[in-house]
C-alpha cells in the first residue's frame, strides 16, 4: 500500500522551500494523495528558461519501493522527453529508483535533465537526431516550444481552461479561477487546489 504519511510529509517538505527552488507539488484534484502535479521552472541559460513545466505524478501502490510515475503535461522539445506523450527517459524513474529518493529529488533530477540532455539514450529519436546533427535548429525549436507551451502568457484562455478541465476541474470553476487571478494558469491551479 502507498505510504500516505510519507507522501504527506514529502508535500510539506517540498513546498516549504518552493520560493527558493521554484519547484512545487500539488494535489491533482480531489483529496487523493496518489495523483499529483509537480511544477518546475525551466533552468537558466537553456532553451527552457522562463518556462514553467507541469509534470503529472502518479504514486503507485508500491511507493516508495517503486518509483513514482512521472510525465510532462507541458509539451517540451527535448531528446529525453517524448514530444508526443511527455514520457520521460530518466534512470532514477526506472531501475535506478531508490526509496531513499523523493518526489522532490526526482523533480530536481528532471530539471537537471533539461539542462543536460543525454541524446545517446533518447526517448524521442527525432529530437535526439536534431540535437546531435543541428544543435542550432534544436535550440530554436526548443525555445519556440517553451514560448508556445510553457509560458502562462503564451497560452490562450481557452487552452488554459481545457488543461484545467483535463486535470479534473469543472469547466465553470476553471474559468472563474482564471478570471480571478488574471489569466495566470499556475495561480489558478493553486486557487483551485486550495
Amino acid at each position: 500500500m502507498v505510504d500516505i504519511a510519507r507522501v504527506q510529509k514529502e508535500l510539506q517538505e517540498c513546498n516549504k522551500d518552493k520560493d527558493s527552488s521554484g519547484i512545487s507539488v500539488k494535489l491533482k484534484g480531489g483529496n487523493s494523495l496518489t495523483h499529483l502535479v509537480g511544477s518546475i521552472p525551466g533552468p537558466l541559460a537553456t532553451p527552457y528558461e522562463g518556462g514553467t513545466f507541469l509534470i503529472d505524478i502518479v504514486i503507485p501502490d508500491g511507493y516508495p519501493f517503486e518509483p513514482p510515475k512521472m510525465q510532462f503535461v507541458t509539451r517540451v522539445w527535448h531528446p529525453n522527453i517524448s514530444s508526443q506523450s511527455g514520457a520521460i527517459c530518466l534512470d532514477i524513474l526506472k531501475k535506478e529508483w531508490s526509496p531513499a529518493l523523493t518526489i522532490k529529488t526526482a523533480l530536481v533530477s528532471i530539471q537537471a535533465l533539461l539542462s543536460a540532455p543525454e541524446p545517446d539514450d533518447p526517448q524521442d529519436a527525432v529530437v535526439a537526431q536534431q540535437y546531435l546533427k543541428d544543435y542550432q535548429t534544436f535550440a530554436n525549436t526548443a525555445r519556440y516550444w517553451t514560448e508556445a507551451y510553457a509560458k502562462s502568457s503564451s497560452v490562450g484562455i481557452e487552452e488554459k481552461v481545457r488543461r484545467l478541465v483535463e486535470m479534473g476541474f469543472p469547466e465553470v470553476m476553471a474559468k472563474d479561477a482564471l478570471d480571478a487571478v488574471g489569466g495566470d494558469e499556475n495561480a489558478a491551479l493553486e486557487k483551485l487546489c486550495s
Binding site: 510519507r6 519501493f65 517503486e66 526509496p99 531513499a100
Partner: protein, 518 residues
Amino acid sequence: MDTEDDTFSDDHDVSDDVVSSDSDFTPETNSGDHREKSYKVLSEEDIKRIQDDRIERVTTSLYVSSGVARVLLNKFKWNVNELQESWFTDEGKTRKDVGLAESRKKHVGTKKIEKLDQLNCSICFEDFVCDVRVDNCVLCDHQYCNCCWNGYISNAISEGSGCLSLRCPDPDCDVVVTDELVSVIVGGDDKLRYERLCVRAYVEGNEKVKWCPGPDCGFAVEYDDVVGSGEGYDVVCGCGYCFCCNCGEDGHRPVDCETVAKWVEKNNAESENTTWILVYTKPCPKCRRPIEKNDGCMHMTCRKPCGYSFCWVCLDDWGKHAYNSCNSYAGRVVKENNDEERVKQRARISLERYTHYFERWAANNKSMKKSFADLQRMRDENHDVLLAKHAQSSSQLKFVLDAWTQIVECRRVLKWTYAYGYYLPEDNIAKTKLFEYLQGEAEAALENLHHCAEKELTEFLRDGTTAEFNTTFREKLANLTSVTKTYFANLVEALENGLADVDSGSANKKLKTGSSSN
C-alpha cells in the same frame, strides 16, 4: 558441517553411486569414448549442502561472516579457489567489487545503543527505535526502520535474483545487503522465495551445472566440463528425463547435436507442409472410422465389429506386414518428361521423402512420451496391483519395469534414427540398405516388446493366473527386453561408426550430415 561434505570439492568431484544409476540402457559395446563422461544429479538439498560447505570454507579462510561469504561466492560463481586467489591478491578491490567496501560503520552492535535508540528512518521519515539484531547485520551507517527494510527487501525479492546483490537504499551508498539481514527482516513466502533464489544462484552462476529441462523437474545436473563446449552425451536425470548435456534437446544418441539441430530447424520450417501429419487421427483402412492412436505401439486393432489389425505407420494389414518393408523409403524414379514437370516432381518427391522420415520420427516421439507416462504409471499404480495379485516382493516385478525402461529408451533412439536416415546420402545405396536393415530389425523387435508389455500385461492387471505370470509371461517379456536391447545396441554402434562396415575403404569416417535432397 559433517565430513561427508568433503566430497563436494571445488573440482566438482563425482561420486560414482549417483552416476546414471537410473539408466539401464548403456550399450556395453561402447568403447570408452567421450560419451562415457560422468555427471551428477543434484537435488535442492544437495545444492544447499554444497553451498553450506563452501560458505564454511570461505568463512574460516577469509574470516568473514557467512552472509559476506555468500555474497562473495555468488560473485565468484561459487568457485572457492578463484575467490581466494582474488582476495589474497587484492582484498580491497575484491571487497569493493561486491559492495563490501571498508566498513564505514562508526558504531558496532552492542556499543552505546542507548544513544542510538531514537533514529530517523530515511525512507518513511519517521522516528524509530534501533533494533540491535538489524543493526548488527547492516554494514553501513544508513538508518532505516524494520518496516522500510522489509518493504525494500520484499520488493527486491519479488523482482527476482537481483535481490542477491541488493545494495543499501541510499543512492550514494554501495554497501551490499547480506542474507543475514534478509533473514532477520523478512519471513513467510518472501523468505522461501529468497532461499530458493539463493539455491538457484549456484546453478545459474556455474557453467558446469545446468537445470534439467524436463517438465516440472527441480533437479540440476553437474558435469565434468563446461556445458555447451563440446560434443554431447545423454544424461538421465533423477526425474527420469533423458537429455543431451550439450544442446539440451531430448537425448539423441546415436545422432550428433548438429544433425539434431538441423532436423529440428527443418521440422519448424516444414511445419506448414506437414501440419496434416500432426493431426493424429487416421481412418481405419477397412471400415474408415476415424481412429486416434492412444497407445504406444504401432500395432493397431480397430474396434469391434471391424477388428481390423494394421500398422499405424503404413496402414498395411498387420498379418501381412513385414516390418522391414515399412521402415524403408522406396525412392521413386523421376520421369524426365520436361523441365517444368521434372521440377514439380522433384519437389513432390522431396516433400514425400521428408514426410516419410518426419512421420516416423513424430510417431516414435509421441510413442516415447506415451511410454514414459506408462513407465511412471507402472511405478506408481500398476506395480502395487501386480504386487497384490501375482508377486511376493518388488524384486519379482523388476522385469516389468526393465521392459518399460527399455521401451522408452528404444523409442528415443528409434526416433532419432529417422533424422539420421533423412540425412543419409541417398546415393549411398549400400549404407542405406545396411541402415534400413538394422533399423528394421530393431524396430520389429521393439514392436514385439512394446505389444507384449502393453497389451499382454493388461490381462494380468485384470485377472490372469499368477502361475502364468511368473512363468510364460515373465520369460517372454524378459527375453523380448534382452533381444531388443541387443538389436538397439547394434544399431547405435553401427550408426556411431558411420555405418563403416559397408565401405572398408573409407572406414571410420564418421557420418555427420549428408546432403539433403532439397
